[in-house]
Every structure is written in C-alpha cells, then in structure tokens.
Point group: C2
C-alpha cells in the first residue's frame, strides 16, 4: 500500500501542491526555509492525523489564508481528505467520499513513522513520550489494545474522582468501595502491562537484528527495561501503601499510567552514555525495526518520513542508515535533505525514485542526479 | 581574556587531555561518538560551572573511573580547577590555588555561551528556560541584579510559606500580614521587571544589527515582548484577585517568577512561523548579539562554543554564520564539526587558529587544511 497522489492548498508557506508520488522512495531537497518540512508535515498530518511540528493545528494554515485542505489517494483508490479553518468546528474529514467524525479511523490505515530532529527527544525526554510511543505501536499491532487502554483509563479516571471527592481527608473513606476500584484497577493494569512487555520483547529482537547490520561502536549489548509504574512491590500492595498520598493529591500515584521504558546499554542508561550521533542512529534503528514489526504483526505497510536526513550524522553513519533503509520492504519512504548528493547510494538501490525540489514554497519534480 | 591551556582526566570517553589553545579560533573535528562534544562539555563545565549536556555531573566521569579532574589557565595566569568523584561531598573547586565553596565566583569570570542542538529549544520550550537565560545575562552585565534576584526569591518563598500555613482555607487569614508581604513582593517585582525589560531592549538593538548583516529571508521585523507574569492588570490588583487560588495552591500564581519573553516576527510568535533552519540562525544571531552586549555593559570577553556547526544549516546559512562570527571581537571561539572543510572561509579571517582531531577519545593537534 502506498500514497500515489497528494494535493494541498493553504499549507504553511507552500503554494498549491499537486504531486504524484513514488511507491518506494521520494526525495525532497531544498535550502533552509524552502518548505521541505512543511510538505512532509502536510503528508504526515493527513495520513496520521497529527503534525510532528506543532500541536496547534491552525498554525499549519498559511498566513492570511482562511483554510487548509489536504487530499490524497492510495494505490488501491482509497481517498482521504482533511480540511479546516481557524475554528475547531470547521474541521471536515473524509474517507472515500464519506464524512468521518474522528481521525483515528484514518490514522489506523497506514502507520506513519517520522524521524525528525524532535524524534530524538524520545531518549532524553521524560517517560510520558516513551509510553505514548509504545502505546501508539500497540494500537497498530494489537486490535484489542485500544479497548483495554480505554477501559483502564476509564477506571483510572473514576478512581481519581472518588479520591478527589474525599477532599483530602481519609475520614469519610469507604473501604469497601475503594477496594472494589482497586480490584478493577489492578486487573486492567495487568492486561496493559503484560501486552506492553510482550511487545517490547518482540521489538527488542527486531532492534538487535537491525543493529547487527550497523556498526555503531556501541560498548555493550542493548537491552530494554519496562518499569511498570508500581515501584518495587506489586500493585495491590502499592495502592494500599500510597493511600494517604493518593487521597491528599486526589490522584493515583502508581500504575501503568506512570510506566516507563528504559533503553540500556551494558546495563547503563543510553541517555547518559551515548553521544548525540549514536543516539540518533539508535533511534533510526528503532524506527526501522518498528516497520518490520508492524508488517509482521498487523500486515501493515508503513509510511516512513525522515526530515533532514544528514544533520548530525557523519558520512559513515549516513551510509549505514542508507543501507539499512534499502533493506526495508513494505515501506514508502519520504526523505528531506539539504543536498541529495548524500543519497546517491540509496537511489541506486530503488527501482522507483522521485525527486522534488522546493524553492520559496514552490515544489517541482526534478530528474534524478546521475 | 582567553583560555590558554586545558587539562582533563576522567572526562567521559576521552583519554587524558592536555592541549594549548588558540586565543581566537579552535576547531575540533571528528566523526560521531569520537569525543568532540565531550571536550567542549569539559571546557564549558570548568569555566561556567555547568554542563550543557547533563544536570547529573557524575555522568561526566569516565565509566569505571573514580573521579574527574579539570584544570585550565587563562592568558593572565589565572588558574582554575575542578575535581570530583561520585559523591557530592567530593567536589573541590580551586581558583589560583585557593579553595572555593561555590562555582558562581568562577562562572562570573568568563561568560560561556554554548550553541548546541539543545540551545535551539530556547524558542520552542516553555517560559522557564527563557527566563533563566535572561537572568543569566543579567547576572553577568549588572552586578546588583544578583542581590535583587535573591531578595525577590526570599520574599517569594516567605509568601508561599505563609500561604501554605493557611492550609487551604482563608478563615485564618491575617490581612495585615498578607498586605505587608504583598507590598515587599510588588516592590521587588518592579525592580526585577524593569531591569529585565531594560536589558531586553538593549539586546534587541544588538540583535537587529547582527540580523541586518545576515539575509535570513525573514518576512517581517523581529521584536521582543516581555510578559511580566502579571496578566493584564497591575501586580497589586492581580495578587488580590488571585488570593483564593494562591491560598488553595499554597503558592504565588503571578509575578516575575512566571514571566516570559516572546520573540515575534511581524507580530507573530517566531515559534509558529519560522522553519527549523531559520530558528537556528535566529538563535545564532541572538548569541552573537549577547557577546557584544556582554563586552559593552560589563567589559567581559566571552567563550563561545558551537557544538556541531553545520547540522541543519544549508551552505548559504553556514557562510552567513561564518561571516557573522568573524566580526566578533573579544570572543574565544570553539567549534566542533564533522568536517572542517565548511570552515575554510572562517579560518582565513583569523590570525590564530588551532585545529584538533578527535578519534576514539584521543585528541591530537593537526595542521590546518590549505
């Protein structure tokens, strides 16, 4: 499955976009501020339902324009479209000509993975971003996870409301009622935790395969630790221990909503050990291993976006990334770069490559460098 | 003033470092993970008292080593040294052979400005980082600011303790006592706000001069807005309005500790308008204008670190940065890069350039490319 056509009006600094795409590799080149990231942002937003650059969707509308309109067609004739203006209610989502209420239906068709300078925060950021990332992957590969996750979050919210209703004092606490919340809470937490652990173990297997094909000079073996958010004891005990804290805060301090995933190397946190370039290559490898897992577990192809390909990578690592990319099957790739020369070895490996040049917001298809 | 010699043992992945430095331009080149950033981190940490890569100082100690030791000498024979092991109490700071208790004395000698991929978060991050940055500049250029800031923070803490002692209810509130805190609070807030505003206006003048020398294709005039953290009314009224909120939170919701600085272009937030490359160049210009201001207002030279010079910048912007750098007087520059070829036009402009190659943690001085 791949995106065959993309049309956009009102997209940031870009003039009207109307391009037909390669099923395999699409290269977007141009100077700073030409509009490369905006094009990738538009494609990603349409297919995944969110921008990798901003959470404020109306920022994506061209300055002085009333609305944005994004439309694309897949090779199997599936058509998707999104349009919106500056008000929330103005948003329209269409799938094959029918209106949709939620973006999630569209986002489930074709997983989008975006490697941008921001993706590398996954290692250095707090646990929230890593939890979200893992859950995103689970939503795609395990159909039942969405309802597990919704059930858990419902119980979490109800338990928190119950705690807040106590107004910071345990004197009105109904033990029976609390225990019944705890029971449901722990039961659903176990489901969430075991699905997450199981996926992580499969992901680690794939990651090690990708890393074996690269030579990153890592001093030690990569491992993944899932911290369930229960502290060191089991969750039932932890909920009892933290009762006073939970009542005073009016929220639940322990559980899978506080979980974390730690990437380690030789037992030490990669965050503290690896250089910036190594972290970047590790994240690249992680994303590549996800595309394999997505295909294996859900049969889904991926749309793979690399914004600013060469930044911070030396020539050896650039080549390693190129070689790892060419081994990817079932992936439609979009790469932006300042200079496409670095991609020459990659271009050779593909049968079907398109290249676009962006200048002052105007996109034109160009012939490949020979 | 400049750093003439630097010695380090136990610094991350680097073997013992012992180098003599150029008073003008020092170039550190090498592949990913060679140790370039570690060298710059060590120099920055010694001179400024903090690392630009981590807040956990013991992470900077080489794996399997007991301690780190950093030592440097300035051209005027001033000597500084820091050593520490894995415990907090093990830290020793020396200035000209005498032990010091605090790093701040050392940090005030020679302002360190570091441009790394992390510096660019200044635009996209929350207000806290921008406030800290502005205060850092004020500490350097205005001697009395440190004590103003300390006085304000003391009163803020006292007011918060007073609020917390009310235990979330206004029933025990002593209006007279609160009003006396408010009076002091507002008086010191005014001092802080007016010094910050004054500095920002001078900084904007310098920034515009630097930007005039560059051609960033910015659509509109750059401006700076200081948001004092008072909301739209004056602070006295705001403290009264927010009394219920403050008592229930046990903290002060309005005042200069909540201030923000917004960079705008043509009246819109640069965060939402500029491309990643443009943001990077704007931050580069901001740091360059700070060195001029530091010299003008405090007579201080700066140590200027650029970690990963070329990443994300097209060749036009790289050249613009090079040309802007060469206009800088009173600045000792350290630049790391994957390939020093891009710096050729810069090297030409300096009389005194040293170049170091880093490979697998070993640093060697090399001859300049011709």
């Amino acid at each position: 499955m791949y995106l065959s056509n993309f049309v956009a009006t009102g997209l940031r600094n870009l003039s009207k976009v109307q391009i037909s795409l390669s099923s395999e590799l699409n290269i977007i080149e141009g100077n700073n501020a030409a509009g490369k990231s905006s094009l990738l942002e538009g494609i990603g937003l349409l297919v995944s339902g969110r921008s990798f650059r901003t959470t404020k969707n109306n920022q994506i509308i061209s300055h002085n324009q009333k609305e944005i309109s994004l439309f694309a067609q897949f090779d199997d004739s599936t058509k998707i479209g999104v349009s919106y203006g500056h008000t929330k209610s103005s948003r329209k989502i269409r799938l094959n000509g029918n209106n949709l209420n939620a973006l999630s239906k569209m986002a489930s068709i074709f997983p989008v993975q975006t490697l941008s300078p921001e993706s590398y925060h996954l290692i250095d950021s707090g646990p929230g971003q890593r939890r979200k990332h893992l859950d995103w992957l689970l939503f795609h590969v395990e159909h039942s996870y969405k309802s597990d996750w919704q059930s858990f979050n419902k119980v979490l919210k109800q338990r928190n409301s119950f705690l807040r209703a106590l107004n910071g004092t345990k004197s009105h606490l109904d033990d029976f009622l609390l225990n019944s919340w705890n029971l449901k809470f722990v039961e659903l937490a176990d489901v969430i935790n075991s699905k997450r652990k199981n996926l992580l173990s499969q992901l680690l297997d794939e990651l090690r395969i990708v890393l074996d094909g690269m030579d990153l000079c890592l001093e030690g073996v990569i491992s993944v630790e899932y911290h369930s958010g229960n502290g060191k004891t089991n969750l039932v005990d932890k909920l009892h221990e933290s009762l006073y804290l939970d009542v005073s805060r009016g929220s639940t301090s322990f559980g899978p909503h506080k979980a974390d995933v730690k990437l380690k190397i030789g037992g030490r946190d990669v965050k503290d050990v690896l250089s910036r370039g190594q972290k970047k290559m590790l994240i690249n490898a992680l994303y590549l291993s996800q595309t394999t897992l997505l295909k294996k577990l859900s049969g889904k192809d991926s749309l793979f976006i690399i914004d600013d390909f060469s930044s911070e990578l030396d020539s050896v690592n650039q080549l390693q990334l190129v070689l790892a990319l060419k081994d990817q099957k079932n992936v439609q790739v979009f790469i932006s770069c300042l200079d496409s020369l670095v991609l020459k070895p990659l271009i050779k490996e593909y049968n079907n490559v398109k290249m676009f040049h962006v200048k002052h917001g105007v996109i034109s298809e160009v012939t490949l460098p020979t």
